[in-house]
């Protein structure tokens, strides 16, 4: 299948990261590898021991020093730039980390999917994995109420998040046009009082970015 808007498939890597902070509404995970967080807007999940699988949407990705007191500084010099800087300082991957925050949008338990907040948060140090295309389909087949949860998110670029999630989901479900229409209807209901905002989000969902020289 041709990627939509240049988006690549996220279901190839089985482990995305490990939960390092968790609350009812969101969890923070450290990416398994530096700079290898799942894409902004992607569905991720954390399973617990008691059969509960919490589903989240990646809402913010950040890379910085592991030690909170240590800030990254410019290391490039002469011809040493970009990847060469990492080659010249092989210790960097051990002192830097990538973290990502996911907004909790629902959970699955005993074969059923729920698009409201789970009874318990994710457990610390448990694995975060990207949702497979099949899991995305199952979750979104249950309804699109989760778009309302994303819209209510605070301290995240909500409109961008919604558009990114819709683009990715449309691609992963394999029926982009049909899903975009469904999501458009859901958004129209959620934002019926704010037409300019609605159109701004919808445009981000369907228009591939074109750069004209």
């Amino acid at each position: 299948m041709r990627p939509l808007n240049g988006v690549t498939d996220v279901s190839e890597n089985p482990l995305a990261g490990e939960v390092i902070e968790a609350s009812t509404t969101e969890f923070l995970a450290q990416a398994h590898q530096l700079d290898a967080a799942p894409p902004f807007g992607a569905f991720v999940q954390v399973a617990t021991d008691d059969g509960l699988t919490i589903v989240g949407v990646v809402a913010h990705v950040q890379t910085g020093g592991i030690d909170p007191g240590a800030r990254a500084i410019m290391r490039g010099h002469d011809a040493v730039r970009d990847e060469l800087i990492y080659e010249e300082n092989p210790d960097l991957p051990l002192v830097l980390r990538t973290t990502f925050k996911a907004l909790v949008v629902g959970f699955a338990e005993s074969g059923s999917v729920y698009q409201f907040l789970p009874p318990r948060p994710a457990r610390l140090h448990y694995s975060v994995v990207p949702c497979t295309a099949a899991a995305v389909r199952t979750f979104t087949d249950a309804g699109l109420e989760f778009l309302g949860t994303l819209l209510a998110g605070t301290e995240v670029p909500t409109d961008e998040l919604l558009a990114a999630n819709i683009r990715l989901t449309a691609h992963q479900r394999g029926e982009p046009r049909q899903f975009l229409e469904q999501a458009g209807r859901e958004l129209a209901q959620l934002l019926h009082g704010d037409y300019p905002r609605l159109t701004a989000i919808v445009k981000r969902c369907v228009q591939p970015l074109e750069v004209r020289a």
């Binding site: 290391r75 010249e88 300082n89 092989p90 210790d91 051990l94």
Partner: protein, 390 residues
């Protein structure tokens, strides 16, 4: 606020005035000493001969004093090893029983060797048994010294070098390997003590680790940032006899022109960035009997911002190839670490025991004691500090 800032402010101003005038005085004295340095520059053999007869710890020149060695070509691949340590002393006031903790940061970074991962780790050891907490004189078991303060410092220094020797023995790469310690190879913790069982124990264990590194063919060097070393100053004091009145340099001044100056003052000024001085051997009555083939040599290295002192054992000093590697690796390391060797900075990061770490350790110990029905009661003094009353 317990600090009387108004009063301290006045004192800081007075101190600033004094430091500024001292700096001007140092420059004046250095210009006086320049002539003496020039005169002795090529008479280094005479100086070396004299150095062997002096009682104090002095630097023995191994070549002309004004020798300058430019940085050798850089290595495309090398492995840098470093360790650094921190400790928690037994807490007399905490009431959680006597124990100490030593945390050693161990770092191995392979440069220019794609596919080999770096290692950043720390090894933590708790000392709590009788054998840990007391150093016993093997010849007279009644003589026991508690492992705390300076003695714990000495133990930590040995543990740092032991971890470095472990890393050196584990290193499997083909590239040259350089092992760095922070500070000095001249175990300075118990320098003032008589030759007793304490010195015997720490010094011989320390030298054993140097021997392990020699056998592993890993060049070891100690790096002291902004060195205050005065081994060469001591030698010149011996030259002039320390009598300003009879001295050609001081011209009857009330005090010796060398006072307060360091080797870096004497030798560092003419050094271009990344140049090093010639090698000097440290002759020390305290260290030489223990160090044998590991006797310490040093050179000064201009890093641009400051003059650092680098010490190497004799087997590195005599091996031109290894010595050149130490020089070029330090240049690269200081470049990467913005003036201080990057690998040592990483080792320090892994060694530091934060306040939060201390609190966690304290809680763990208290919980364990409570579980076993032992009450960890702080001393009256600590209790008074924790609970302030008015």
């Amino acid at each position: 606020m317990p600090l009387d800032l108004l009063e301290v402010g006045t004192q800081v101003r007075q101190m600033g005035e004094l430091l500024a005038s001292r700096r001007a005085d140092e420059l004046r004295r250095l210009s006086l000493l320049e002539e003496m340095l020039r005169a002795y520059s090529n008479r280094w053999e005479e100086l070396a001969e004299l150095a062997e007869r002096v009682r104090e710890r002095v630097a023995v020149p191994t070549g002309p004093l004004d020798e300058r060695v430019p940085p050798p070509p850089s290595l495309t691949a090398y492995t840098a090893l470093a360790t650094d340590g921190a400790e928690i002393d037994p807490d007399r006031h905490g009431g959680s029983g006597d124990f100490f903790l030593i945390n050693v940061g161990r770092v191995a970074i392979p440069y220019g060797q794609p596919g080999r991962p770096a290692e950043l780790a720390s090894a933590t050891r708790l000392g709590y048994t009788e054998e840990d907490l007391f150093i016993v004189d093997p010849r007279d078991p009644r003589r026991q010294v508690p492992m705390r303060d300076r003695h714990l410092d000495a133990l930590r220094t040995v543990e740092e070098l032991r971890a470095l020797a472990d890393l050196a023995e584990q290193e499997r790469g083909d590239a040259p390997t350089i092992a760095l310690v922070d500070g000095t190879l001249l175990f300075s913790v118990l320098e003032e003590r008589p030759r007793d069982f304490l010195r015997q124990r720490f010094y011989s264990e320390y030298v054993q680790q140097l021997e392990r590194m020699r056998r592993a063919h890993v060049a070891v060097a100690a790096y002291a940032s902004r060195s205050r070393g005065i081994d060469l100053v001591n030698l010149f004091r011996a030259v002039c006899g320390g009598m300003p009145l009879a001295c050609d340099v001081c011209h009857g001044a009330h005090a010796c022109a060398l006072r307060g100056l360091s080797d870096a003052h004497l030798l560092g000024r003419g050094l271009q960035k990344w140049e090093r001085t010639g090698l000097f051997r440290v002759r020390s009555n305290v260290h030489d009997p223990y160090f044998g083939p590991h006797r310490a040599y040093f050179f000064l290295l201009q890093t641009g911002e400051e003059v650092a002192r680098v010490e190497v054992p004799e087997w590195v000093a005599r091996d031109k190839h290894q010595l050149s590697n130490v020089h070029t690796v330090l240049v690269d390391q200081c470049n990467k670490g913005f003036g201080y060797p990057a690998v040592l900075a990483r080792a320090d990061d892994k060694a530091v025991i934060s306040l939060a770490d201390r609190t966690v350790l304290d809680t763990l110990v208290r919980q364990e004691l409570a579980r076993r029905g032992v009450l960890a009661k702080p001393s009256a003094k600590l209790h008074r500090k924790q609970v302030r009353t008015v």
